[in-house]
Amino acid sequence: MAKLIKIFLFFSFYSFAVWADGLYHKNSLIGGRASGMGGAYKAISDDASGAFYNPAGLVYSDGDSISGSANSYVSTKSTYKETIGNRDWERETDNLLPNFFGATKKFGKYTFGFSYVITDYMKENQNQVFQNLDELADPIDLFAFNLQSEDATYLIGPSLAMELSENLTFGVSLFYHRRVFRRSQSQLIQFGDGSDYSSYQNLSKRERGFHLRTGLLYSLEKHAFALTLSKAVMQTAIADSQANTKERNSSATDFGRRADVDRPKYPYEIGLGYAYFASPYLLVSADFDYYLHSEENRRNMWNAAVGAEYFLNSTYALRTGFYTNNTNSRKPSEIADEIPVEYMNMYGLTAGIGIHSKSSTISLGVNYGFGSGDARIYSSENSASTETKRFERQILGFLIAADYGF
Amino acid sequence: MSKYIIVFTFFFCSQVQASVYFIKSAKVDLLSAAEKGSDVVATLERDTEVKELDVDRTWVKVESDGKAGWVSKIFLSKKKSMGTSQSLLDTDEDLSSSARKRASALTSAGAARGLRAGSDQLYQEDGEENLAALKIMESWKVDDEVGLEFLMNPQGEL
């Protein structure tokens, strides 16, 4: 009986909200060169993508430029162990999306930028049918499940960078932030005894606000040091949900509607970066980020990244990097039982190639992310147990980017 | 004291850069004094790397391969040359084929001249452009050696 209830509640109203709900800060690597280097780019930051990593670096961009488009194809596979009866549950998504577009222009001592960044994107489409779940105490003939969801966070806005002195530059980017989340799911369960249960749920969230990113860059011969500070503040956030449920023991459908304001608090991000320009061929870099969270159930945490770029000749460059993508969720044991939790830190490896010609550069890259952790995927509202299950995730992304100089 | 040493090291590291030049002209005489007419110490060829030793207004004293002497600064360049027009010339190239060749950027100077056959019909013989005269002008090209000899030797005859 307990297992049966778990299956129901597995797909309860709140279940998938956790997956992409602002738990991670490094879901999207942008910029051809930066993403090849694990995103360890704060102290480099000398192309259009610098508007995001460290606006101060824009001063060192090579003339006016347009960073064509960076497209990434991302495939994600999450495996929740022994969740449907004894079976693992796998979720796969794949996305193809442009995640960065930017331009820079120099005016004397100032450099202007304008960019569009997708910092987070998730799209999911699931159609699953399980049949003849006989191992249950209360057998189920058919369990059909359908889920569509999309969650995108966009930033768009200008940047300004300037030299403060021969060795020190400062930059600021002010983005308009917009997030749109939509999810609809439906389920049908036909029991062995002839009864059935069905539900339809629809949730949409929209938030708008501003996202400020500032930075300093200090250069000393072959070394560069970066300090960045970022903060997003939401002006409005609306969540709207509807649910229709036909319970097993009833022939009527219940309808429920809820709307609330759910303004999330984004953390203060403090960043440090270092780059060593060893030679015209070799460059190594490292970044460290610290996030100060003030939302309930989130914790202060850090991320780190290291990267390297090596030019084989004046045309081809190889890049590689490693980064952490830690969760800002508290551990399941630290969160009230009613709330579902996913707790997993992820790691990523990147590799890329840059092909340089007179006025343009093409970058190709691959990003492999992985992690394993614990998930409490159903709340304790209707369950006696608050068991956590192991789960794993692997993400594989491909990136293509183009930069044009004038 | 140690911090002074560190700073001095920084200072000198960034300053120590002996000026290196390359000979720009086909042939140049290294002179014993900053004046044309003084003794010739050595003759240097194009793209020879030299190190600057001294400067006197428009003359530079340089050192190459153990020999030192003066040259006019007009003969020095910070970079090596791209090679002569001969290196751009690929006389074996089949100029008769009219297909536009995009295989390599290194088509020949000769082909550039004869590209009329293959290129878009850019030339219009409508009096606006005189190709016959251009061909004549190009036929007047004098041999490099002959020209240099003539220039260097005021007594030279055509």
Binding site: Y404 | C13, R57, M82, L88, A109, L115, N130, L134
Partner: protein, 269 residues
């Protein structure tokens, strides 16, 4: 005081960081073979256009004299990747034109004004200096094709297209204007004069004679022989003043002008 010195020395050391940031791909050569070929191709077109407007002087000996001196000078101070071509064109006006790719024209009026070989060498050197600077090429952004995969894809992504013929025609018109109407920058004209003087000095020739030539040109322009040169060059008095400033520190000018040879070949018939 000690700290000030320290700070000064430290700022010296720190000033160089920008050079380290540059990657090897950014250390491009100013121009490559493809650019040179594009320049030559364009230069021929322009030369043909100039010869559509002006006639070649029929004096073969004079043409050979100019071409031979020019070839020698090209070896001395010219870009080795180019073949320089010289021609005297029929025009009473005093002028010389330096087209891209090394196509150099001198008017018969200019030759007639010259008194010796040193002056001719000076003028030829001035024109070669213009070709070396590639200013017409740079102003018109004449570049070689970038055949690489990256550029091709870049065009695809960037959606850039070029209508070659239209671009060429308008470039030719613009180049013609630059040579005959607007002029390259005045600063560059003065620099070319200076290089002409340096060339003469390096040759042990009478560089003062070039300045005298400019003075004679000034008089001739006053008489109406300088329609184009007035439009495209700084006032001759300014050119002379600029050169006089340069030579203030120089030793006295040699006297050699290669008069004999000039008398034989350099007279306009």
């Amino acid at each position: 005081m000690k700290w000030l010195l320290l700070l000064l020395m430290m700022s010296q050391a720190f000033a160089s960081h920008q050079q380290y940031r540059k990657r090897i791909s950014q250390m491009k050569v100013e121009y490559d073979e493809a650019d040179v070929l594009a320049e030559i191709k364009f230069g021929r077109e322009l030369a043909a256009k100039i010869l559509g407007k002006y006639q070649l002087l029929s004096d073969q000996k004079l043409q050979q004299y100019v071409s031979t001196l020019g070839a020698g000078l090209a070896q001395m101070i010219g870009r080795p990747e180019l073949d320089y071509h010289f021609a005297v064109i029929v025009d009473d006006d005093i002028n010389a034109y330096a087209g891209p790719g090394g196509y150099i024209f001198i008017t018969s009026g200019a030759i007639a004004l010259m008194k010796n070989e040193a002056q001719l060498i000076g003028v030829l050197a001035h024109e070669i200096a213009h070709v070396n600077k590639r200013s017409v090429v740079k102003k018109l952004k004449i570049r070689g094709d970038d055949d690489s995969l990256a550029a091709g894809l870049g065009v695809l992504i960037g959606g850039a297209t070029a209508s070659y013929r239209k671009a060429l025609e308008s470039a030719l018109d613009k180049a013609f204007d630059l040579l005959f109407e607007e002029g390259i920058s005045m600063k560059e004209e003065l620099l070319a004069d200076y290089l002409a003087l340096l060339t003469l000095q390096a040759q042990g020739l009478n560089w003062q004679s070039y300045i005298d030539y400019l003075a004679n040109m000034d008089k001739a322009i006053a008489k109406g022989q300088g329609e184009v040169v007035q439009k495209t060059h700084p006032p001759t008095s300014e050119r002379i003043d600029s050169l006089n400033r340069h030579v203030k520190s120089w030793d006295e000018s040699p006297k050699e002008v290669n008069q004999t040879r000039f008398k034989k070949y350099g007279k306009v018939n």
